[in-house]
């Protein structure tokens, strides 16, 4: 009966949150603020390979708790860090121990194709070289990344590539199945997107206080404050669902509904935040000088990647309403 489906899984009351998670999050926030400058990256893109290695040495590419990983990804998304952290985390789930070690230590890069079927993959998170995990014949396989064609993208912090495995076949089957991999991918994507949404909310809120017109801060007008409240609600709802999905993954068991919901909620929150963010910044918001467009670009990337909101809702509807759908 759909009544049972309507009430999701019961999760631990603390969602598995531990004191050290809080420390991890505040350290991550501080480190990223010190070491990464988004506008400088847009002015002069660099690979940040050293920063990547440093983050790996701090253990950011190994997953012990999905909740802790989600909190980290949120911080990464907040600054739009242009490093392939989520693909490495996902690849590590799929690879055998020796390859996994090379990836989690930061020695080798890795990426994962989950958006399209092969043998021509599109929208693959771009890396210069390394390992490649992709679906094939109903399972997940891995091999060395063949030569790729970089795509021209709107969001420069999310470079993607086209990969053809027609001539360089994937060499071995992974342990993890595609469904489990996708659930993890949705969660990480949601957490990173949530961070971006939070950042737009906070910069728009600051602007609404600082910018004055008719001798008053524009944030004192309800035409400005109420849309901001709506953005905040979308962000808080997304955060609740991201945390719940991470806790569900940590607990094991069925996670498809929780992870899809988190993906939809976070991408919709950023979509709304970016739309209102540009508008509420007024004439400044429409210029290159205002940082909001970096996040607007991320919204365009995030909503469609790993399945658009409509596709996820379509599947959620089937899970809820259609008998015999598992």
């Amino acid at each position: 009966m759909n009544r049972e489906k309507l009430q999701g899984p019961s999760l631990p009351t603390s969602f598995g949150f531990e004191k050290e998670h809080e420390l991890l999050r505040s350290q991550a926030r501080r480190l990223l603020a010190e070491r990464f400058d988004l506008r400088a990256f847009y002015d002069k893109p660099t690979s940040y390979r050293e920063l990547y290695k440093e983050l790996a040495s701090l253990g950011w590419l190994a997953t012990e708790s999905w909740l802790a990983t989600a909190l980290l990804l949120e911080e990464i998304g907040r600054v739009l860090l242009p490093l392939p952290i989520a693909p490495a985390l996902l690849a590590a789930q799929a690879l055998p121990p020796d390859e996994r070690e090379a990836v989690t230590s930061g020695e080798k890069l890795a990426t994962v194709a989950l958006d399209t079927e092969g043998p021509e993959f599109r929208g693959v998170p771009w890396i210069e070289s390394g390992l490649f995990v992709a679906p094939s014949e109903g399972g997940l396989f891995y091999g060395d990344l063949p030569e790729v064609v970089k795509e021209s993208v709107v969001d420069r912090t999310k470079p993607t590539a086209r990969v053809s495995v027609a001539r360089v076949p994937l060499r071995a089957r992974c342990e993890i199945d595609l469904g489990a991999m996708l659930e993890r991918a949705w969660l990480l994507h949601a957490a990173e997107t949530l961070g971006a949404a939070e950042a737009v909310l906070s910069m728009t809120r600051d602007y609404a206080i600082e910018r004055r017109q008719f001798d008053r801060p524009i944030g004192s007008y309800q035409a400005v404050s109420h849309p901001l409240v709506n953005v905040m609600i979308a962000v808080e709802n997304a955060r609740s669902l991201v945390i719940a999905a991470a806790a569900a993954l940590d607990q094991g068991g069925a996670c498809e509904v929780a992870c899809r919901m988190a993906k939809v909620a976070a991408c919709e929150a950023l979509w709304l935040a970016a739309n209102r963010g540009v508008q509420l910044h007024g004439g400044f918001g429409f210029t290159w000088e205002c940082d909001v467009h970096f996040y607007f670009r991320r919204a365009l990337y995030a909503r469609g990647a790993l399945g658009g909101s409509e596709a996820h809702r379509r599947r959620l509807a089937a899970l809820l309403l259609d008998h015999g759908v598992q």
Partner: protein, 392 residues
């Protein structure tokens, strides 16, 4: 099986065996619309039965007639009532708003006198805050309470007063010091309704139902010990009541259970009218489901301080706004699903679901307006959570 699971099973089977048979008259959808004596008696008996069975009072200490505070059991009882679609609790104002306020501000004597009769529905409660000229701007209210000897005498005009025509007591906000600043001059009373100088006039709601009143006080007397808290402390006490009314203290999962139940009724309706395969309906239903689940997880997250550390007031202050708007969207989608049958009222025997969807949609505005409108909620969130400048 854990102790709590056993308790849930026990409650579930008790409700199955003891719920009253559906009456031969139309029941209201919520405590806001109780209009007739037969509705009143039916609902009062049901709350009384639950109390006698020992299932009410897990939110009140034993020494005052409760079962001892036990959030988990309270949530189970409320969740099971929603799940069983059992009749609602008549004395909702007493249970959800008045009782926690009295437990917070009341004297020992007030707690001993008032708590148990609220649980048993022996005393019905109404709320006298709003006035014709004091709605969203509540603190500008003008009703006066003047002290003379060991009594106060009330004069003034309250409006939109749910259940006043049946209530034994009213939580009454009145001005005791007209010289003081508008917030500082207010006091909060536990006013006995069955007294001289109280005129109750029914108001008809947009749905055509009653249950709503205006109350005119003409030197209506009450004993001095009807004061809750100190004289001049009324605004703080009233804000505490509103905090409970808006669900900021966490409603123990009952709202989640009710929303899930409303969604499940919506799905049944869709199946009945052949819309369950319609992709437009399905997309909108799932969007609602996601919001309901987000509210459910948000309620749980609000209890883990570290998981809302960046914006601790956001979740509690969103509750009422988000819940009331979800309920409204569910009722609205129900009406849209009915297509041309949305024209049929509760009196038409062929109205799908006895016409409950149009009535629910109309009545849903009671919750997006009452207890602080959605617009006021957004102002409060903008100011207190986001730190934006005041909008006035």
């Amino acid at each position: 099986m854990s102790e709590l699971d056993a308790f849930r099973d026990e409650v579930r089977s008790w409700i199955r065996e003891h719920r009253p048979a559906p009456p031969d008259f139309v029941l209201p959808q919520s405590f806001l619309e109780v209009e007739t004596k037969e509705q009143l008696d039916y609902l009062r008996a049901w709350q009384r039965a639950l109390f006698d069975a020992g299932y009410l009072g897990y939110d009140a200490p034993r020494e005052y007639g409760g079962r001892g505070v036990d959030q988990a059991r309270h949530a189970i009882v409320m969740g099971e009532l929603a799940r069983a679609r059992a009749p609602f609790l008549l004395n909702a104002i007493g249970l959800r708003w008045v009782m926690p306020t009295i437990l917070h501000y009341g004297t020992e004597a007030q707690k001993r006198f008032f708590v148990e009769p609220i649980l048993s529905a022996e005393h019905l409660w109404c709320q006298g805050f709003s006035e014709p000229e004091a709605g969203s701007d509540l603190a500008s209210l003008r009703a006066r309470a003047e002290r003379e000897g060991d009594r106060y005498y009330v004069s003034g005009h309250k409006v939109w007063t749910t259940l006043a025509h049946f209530a034994d007591y009213m939580i009454l906000l009145a001005r005791t010091d007209p010289e003081a600043h508008k917030y500082a001059g207010l006091s909060y009373f536990l006013f006995p309704m069955k007294t001289s100088g109280v005129i109750i006039q029914p108001l008809v709601k947009m749905s055509g139902e009653g249950g709503f009143n205006q109350v005119i006080f003409d030197r209506a007397p009450m004993p001095a010990d009807a004061l809750l808290g100190e004289e001049g402390q009324g605004w703080d006490v009233a804000m505490t009541t509103l905090t409970f009314e808006r669900g900021a203290a966490g409603v123990g999962g009952e709202a989640s259970a009710a929303s899930a139940e409303a969604l499940s009724r919506l799905i049944e309706l869709a199946e009945k009218v052949g819309a369950a395969e319609d992709p437009v309906f399905r997309d909108r239903l799932v969007a609602l489901w996601i919001d309901v689940e987000a509210a459910r997880q948000g309620e749980r997250r609000s209890k883990v301080a570290a998981l809302s550390a960046d914006r601790p007031l956001a979740l509690p202050m969103m509750q009422k706004l988000v819940r009331s708007e979800i309920e409204q969207r569910i009722a609205e989608l129900g009406c849209q699903l009915m297509g041309d049958a949305a024209r049929l009222s509760i009196d038409d025997p062929e109205a799908p679901d006895r016409g409950e969807w149009p009535r629910a949609y109309m009545n849903s505005f009671g919750f997006t307006i009452g207890g602080g409108t959605s617009e006021i909620q957004r102002n409060l969130i903008a100011e207190r959570v986001l730190g934006l400048p005041r909008s006035r």
